[in-house]
Amino acid sequence: MQKVIETLLIGLTTGSIYALMSLAIVLVWRSTRVINFAQAGQAMFATYIGFEISSRSEVFWLGLLFAVVGGALLGAGVDYFFMRVLFKHANSGPAAVVAPVIATLGLLGLIRSIVGLSWGGEFKTIKSPVSTDGYTLGSTTIPFSALNAVIIITVSIILIALAILFQRTNLGLALRASAYAPEIAKLAGIRTAQTRTIGWAIAGGVGGVAGMLVTANNFLSPYSLDLLLVFGFIAAVIGGLESMVGAVIGALVLGIGLTIILNYVGTSLIFIGGFVVLIVVLLVKPDGIMAKGKGRRA
């Protein structure tokens, strides 16, 4: 029984961090129709900035703040300087399908190399803002710590904030319109290009939070967020890529599923486990969990 609760709680924690990454990916997908593989790279860069600030100031939350800002700026920068150039040039031939995917892969490698050249590859650590001791109930200690609770709370706050942003504000409306029907949005006077950049900025900032949270009490290196990249993407695909709610649900499903495999089957199988979860979902619903009926919006 205890193992079940442990698994659920850890799964929830992992899932909520993946939720941030999958949200970022869905945000970018909906606004630009591009799967941004560099999302985790941007998050990694933001996390290094957060590392610098938090290790100098000894305050984790200050580092987080800078990570968010840094991530947002980087996201906006990538969209403005990189994506627009890309779409101007690479839009014909068989590569049109592949080009954005490859381009973001290239961007991921570029960011990773720059980070490696600037900071080196040694493992760095970011101190967790709260204790990482497991909670003790009576005589047993469960591996769910204050940090895990903080993660879940932080992610929930961000999700609520984003939901409010998208549903209740003009900016949110503009973001949704620009993604869903760009031509009509332009006619309505919305500056779609600018709005898209803002979308990228939000995605980048959210990624920065994910990076900081997952690295607290863990090792930071130019490769440490690769897991986040893969699982964030899988989570987004499971959820359906078309809805933010789906992204979150997909991430939680994935997080809990992976933890079950980790605890009950074996550590080496979590990656193929991710694949299995994904293929099972897609076999039943090829457009993800939250997809509404047939008709892929290409």
């Binding site: 997908w29 799967i35 890309l86 068989p94 190399s113 720059i114 080196g120 590859g121 893969v230 080496s268």
Partner: protein, 332 residues
């Protein structure tokens, strides 16, 4: 009737061309030092792997990030066959082709309904997950992997005939045969059908093409090629290990394919050169920059990424397209 005669002539010309190519490679293999011969074997391996991407992505339009996983299937099949059943080498390679074709057909069937990012995501998950399975089952050798020993060149070749040269010969012959067959497939109606599907799946269906079946076929053949490449890689490094078939390999294959022209089969040779050449160039650059660890570790990645980004922006369909455009302008 005319078509039939013409076709036979064309095929004969192609066979002659490939034989000539093989002869050239033979001579080169004799003239260069061991490092180059080894790199030649690696280039041959890459051409086969890149051919699998050209077929799958360039022709049938399915973006797969999981070719590394299929290479792993081929490599491990070959190693397990060779080590446990003590078969001749060619049989091990044959098993690599068959087993990965089988896996490929399963993957294709599962993925037939997927497109775009959903397919990319699934193959990404596979690329990350499949090699890691080796860590779970000890007969797969775990992280350190299994040794793959194709043995030494025949005694009659003499003392000077190094093992790497032997690998170069084997890899070269396999690559030539594989590319010849692939070229024929791509130029046949299969190739045309795939391009039709890639162009407009709905229109293709209306024209009577079974999209799903053709997509699965593409996956099957592409995986067979990838598996063969994986077995050749295993031969070159005498090892199959999960690290040799990492996600980084899948990424670099896609990189190489795009750089050389994702829908151009001849481009795979260029792609192979690029993939083997970049670490060399980066090494030389890093050396001249002072050889600090940082440079050695991250410079190759930097160069690859920059090259990739530039080529995607300016030559998304490979340098062939740009040359064609340029020549076209001249005629206009």
């Amino acid at each position: 009737m005319e078509l039939w005669r013409k076709a036979r002539v064309a095929v004969r010309k192609k066979i002659a061309f490939f034989i000539l190519l093989g002869w050239v490679l033979l001579i080169i293999g004799d003239r260069v030092d061991e490092l180059r011969v080894y790199q030649g074997a690696q280039i041959a391996m890459y051409t086969i792997a890149l051919a699998s991407i050209v077929l799958l992505t360039g022709y049938s339009g399915q973006v797969s990030l999981g070719n590394g996983a299929m290479m792993a299937v081929g490599g491990y099949s070959a190693a397990l066959t060779l080590n446990n059943l003590q078969t001749p080498i060619w049989f091990a390679f044959l098993m690599a082709i068959l087993v990965s074709a089988l896996f490929g057909s399963l993957l294709g069937a599962a993925a037939a309904r997927l497109a775009g990012p959903y397919l990319a995501g699934t193959t990404l998950a596979l690329a990350v997950g499949l090699p890691a399975i080796a860590n779970q089952f000890s007969f797969l050798g775990g992280e350190p992997g299994l040794l793959f020993d194709v043995g030494f060149p025949p005694e009659s070749f003499g003392e000077e005939f190094t093992q790497y040269k032997w690998f170069f010969w084997i890899a070269g012959v396999i690559a030539l045969i594989a590319l010849f067959i692939t070229s024929n497939i791509l130029q046949s109606r299969f190739g045309r059908t795939w391009r039709a599907i890639r162009g407009n799946s709905l229109a293709a269906e209306l024209a009577g093409i079974h999209s799903a079946r053709m997509k699965v076929l593409a996956f099957t053949i592409s995986s067979a090629l990838a598996g063969l490449a994986g077995a050749v890689l295993a031969m070159n490094i005498s090892l199959v290990a999960p690290g040799a078939y990492s996600l980084a390999l899948s990424f670099s294959l896609v990189t190489g394919a795009v750089l050389a022209g994702v829908s151009s089969l001849p481009g795979v040779v260029l792609g192979g050169f690029i993939l083997v050449g970049i670490p060399e160039i980066a090494d030389a650059l890093a050396g001249s920059l002072g050889g600090a660890d940082k440079f050695n570790n991250y410079l190759p990645g930097l160069i690859t990424s920059v090259l990739l980004i530039l080529s995607v922006i300016y030559t998304p369909n490979g340098p062939g397209e740009n040359i064609r455009k340029h020549l076209g302008k001249k005629h206009a």
